[in-house]
């Protein structure tokens, strides 16, 4: 039955989940049993690429961050669409070219809008 195949495909997912949970649990437990335990101040401080944190983490971000993030995501997704489209343009032909040009035109209008509405200015 096709549907049994559908469910048996989830066996891999279950195995993956089990391994994913088991790996950190097992390795950390063994590490705890094997290593000596001797914490002191210098050992617990931040080292290498870290710095000591200052202030609260939950501050208000400037709203411009969000707008720029939205703009970024739109053009990021455009890139995601452009790669497979560029690879298969040979088969898609003129229809594919026109479809993507319309898509880019709509995004360009959106960019023009945010430009004119001074979204891209930071003051």
């Amino acid at each position: 039955m096709e549907l049994d195949l559908y469910f048996s495909n989830y066996t891999y997912v279950i195995i993956f989940v089990l391994f994913g949970v088991a790996l950190p649990v097992v390795s950390l437990t063994f590490g705890r049993l094997l290593r000596p335990k001797n914490p002191y101040d210098d050992k617990l401080s931040t080292y290498e690429s870290g710095i000591k944190p200052t202030g609260e983490a939950q501050i208000r971000f400037h709203v411009a961050y969000y707008i720029v993030a939205i703009e970024f995501i739109i053009f990021d997704i455009e890139t995601v669409f452009l790669y497979p489209w560029a690879v298969s343009l040979g088969q898609l032909g003129w229809v594919g070219l026109n479809a993507m040009l319309i898509f880019i035109l709509i995004l360009a209008l959106g960019l023009g809008y945010s430009w004119k509405k001074r979204v891209l200015e930071w003051n």
Partner: protein
């Protein structure tokens, strides 16, 4: 048939509306930072009317584009209803934005047009993916529109509630669709319809769960009990023209996809899901009408009235004898619902804006202040309540007869009793209009701006016209080929 040599002319109305919406959007940001651009409103109405004509010309014959997009009688009628509904909403909005100069009119009108485009795509889709894209285009535009009074706390609250709950509902729809796709291996509604009978026999629980997920999500969009909790808050907070958009266009388009998905995609297993809709219709009619009684604010009252109306519209879905009859009943009621709700909202917008108060008492003495509006509002309310010589009466009557023909007597009885309950709160508004004196602070005569009076008059003529000549419309619907 490949999508590349398809008959693209079927999509002409959508393509033209998209270009016009983009032109309006571009005109807005190219003509400076001013918020007040009334010419864009007039241009939007012209675009919608032009698109309506194109729908009547290009969607007359049925056809489809590569299993994704289908044009049939159902799509044509609902598109015309949606386009005319949005044209009415924009006419009301022109009065509204004239009083609220802080609204960016260009953005407002272009969002409305994009939402319309989404609604048109929804009712024309023959595929779960097209359907979902259209639904999201409509929903996301509607989320933005609900929060258009930026500096008003209630409007912002409405937008946030709407976007969070709406997103959840979309997730439910997608989850249900993913089950259907996983089991059938296709997103095309026609193919799904062929595959589901055997799947229901083999895996009844998973299929029922998939259907329940989709009903929960769609039930949110058409505000059916128990998925209606967003409606009163969003209706109250959103700008009143947007409220009319949500309660007319968004709801009719939502019904469009419910009918499309269930009567095309799951028609072969009708008996499996009909009873769910019968139960939903029953509790929606009861709860909607009961809670509407205690409302003291007119927009909240209209929200619960809209919930109750959704319940009436679900009755024929659950009591199908023949598909054509059911479709013509629902579509007739949808036309009546468009006319009476839009007319009522035009008057509500005017009155609540003029008195700057959305309590029911803002209607007090309307008969002395503006007799024409009071009489028109009475007709719309009678139609919503389902009393004779109005389109609402015949819509409800057909649905009632249909329920009896299907031998669902209990549903017909609930429909009658809840309709009687609804008289109570609709008459509450009439009592304010005719039996109370105007408040001393209000102007003694209410001047009616042209766009609002145009919407009221057209809706009034339609409501009474289809009430007297209901068979004109039903004869036309009976000869229509609903689904391709």
């Amino acid at each position: 048939m490949s999508a590349y040599n398809a008959n693209w002319s079927l999509m002409t109305p959508e393509i033209v509306l998209m270009i016009l919406a983009l032109v309006i959007f571009t005109l807005d940001f190219m003509t400076g930072m001013s918020r007040n651009k009334p010419f864009l409103g007039r241009l939007s109405i012209l675009s919608l009317l032009a698109t309506t004509v194109l729908v009547a010309v290009f969607n007359r014959e049925t056809g489809q584009i590569g299993d994704m997009f289908v044009v049939d009688g159902f799509a044509m009628v609902l598109k015309i209803v949606i386009l005319l509904g949005v044209a009415g909403v924009i006419a009301i909005s022109m009065y509204y934005v004239d009083r609220h100069r802080d609204v960016y009119q260009g953005e407002y009108y272009s969002l409305l047009l994009f939402a319309t485009l989404g609604a048109m795509l929804m009712v024309s889709s023959a595929d779960l993916i097209t359907l979902f894209v259209g639904l999201e285009l409509l929903s996301i535009s509607a989320y933005c529109l609900a929060g258009f009074k930026k500096y008003n706390g209630k409007s912002t609250e409405a937008a946030i509630k709407y976007v969070v709950l709406g997103g959840t509902a979309s997730a439910f729809i997608l989850y249900g669709m993913s089950f259907v796709y996983g089991l059938t291996g296709t997103t095309s509604l026609v193919d799904i319809n062929e595959a589901v009978p055997t799947l229901f026999a083999d895996y009844p629980y998973i299929m029922t769960m998939a259907i329940m997920f989709m009903i929960a999500g769609f039930g949110f969009k058409i505000s059916v009990v128990p998925f209606h909790m967003w409606a009163p808050d969003v209706y109250e907070g959103a700008p009143t023209p947007v409220t009319s958009f949500l309660s007319v266009v968004s709801k009719i388009a939502g019904f469009g996809i419910v009918l499309r998905v269930f009567f095309v995609g799951f028609e072969s297993v009708y008996d499996e899901w009909a009873f769910i809709f019968a139960l939903l219709a029953a509790i929606t009619m009861i709860v909607g009408n009961m809670i509407a009684i205690v409302q003291r604010k007119v927009k909240r009252l209209m929200a619960f009235s809209g919930v109750a109306q959704a319940g009436y519209l679900l009755v024929p879905v659950a009591t199908m004898v023949s598909l054509d009859m059911t479709m013509s009943m629902i579509t007739f009621y949808a036309v009546a619902y468009l006319l009476m709700t839009l007319g009522a909202f035009a008057i509500i917008t005017l009155v609540t804006e003029d008195t700057e108060d959305d309590a029911l008492t803002s209607f007090s003495g309307l008969y002395q202040r503006a007799p024409y509006l009071a009489i028109a509002m009475t007709i719309f309310l009678l139609s919503l309540a389902g009393l004779p010589i109005t389109a609402g009466f015949f819509g409800k009557f057909y649905i009632f007869v249909g329920a009896i023909q299907a031998e669902m007597l209990w549903l017909a009885v609930i429909m009658i009793f809840t309709s009687i309950v609804s008289f109570f709160y609709y008459f509450g508004i009439m009592k304010q209009m005719f039996m109370r004196d105007p408040k001393p602070n209000d102007d003694q005569t209410l001047s009616v701006p042209k766009p609002v009076s145009a919407v009221v008059t057209i809706s009034l003529v339609g409501t009474i016209g289809f009430g007297l000549l209901a068979n004109v419309l039903t004869n036309y619907f009976n000869n229509l080929q609903w689904f391709f």
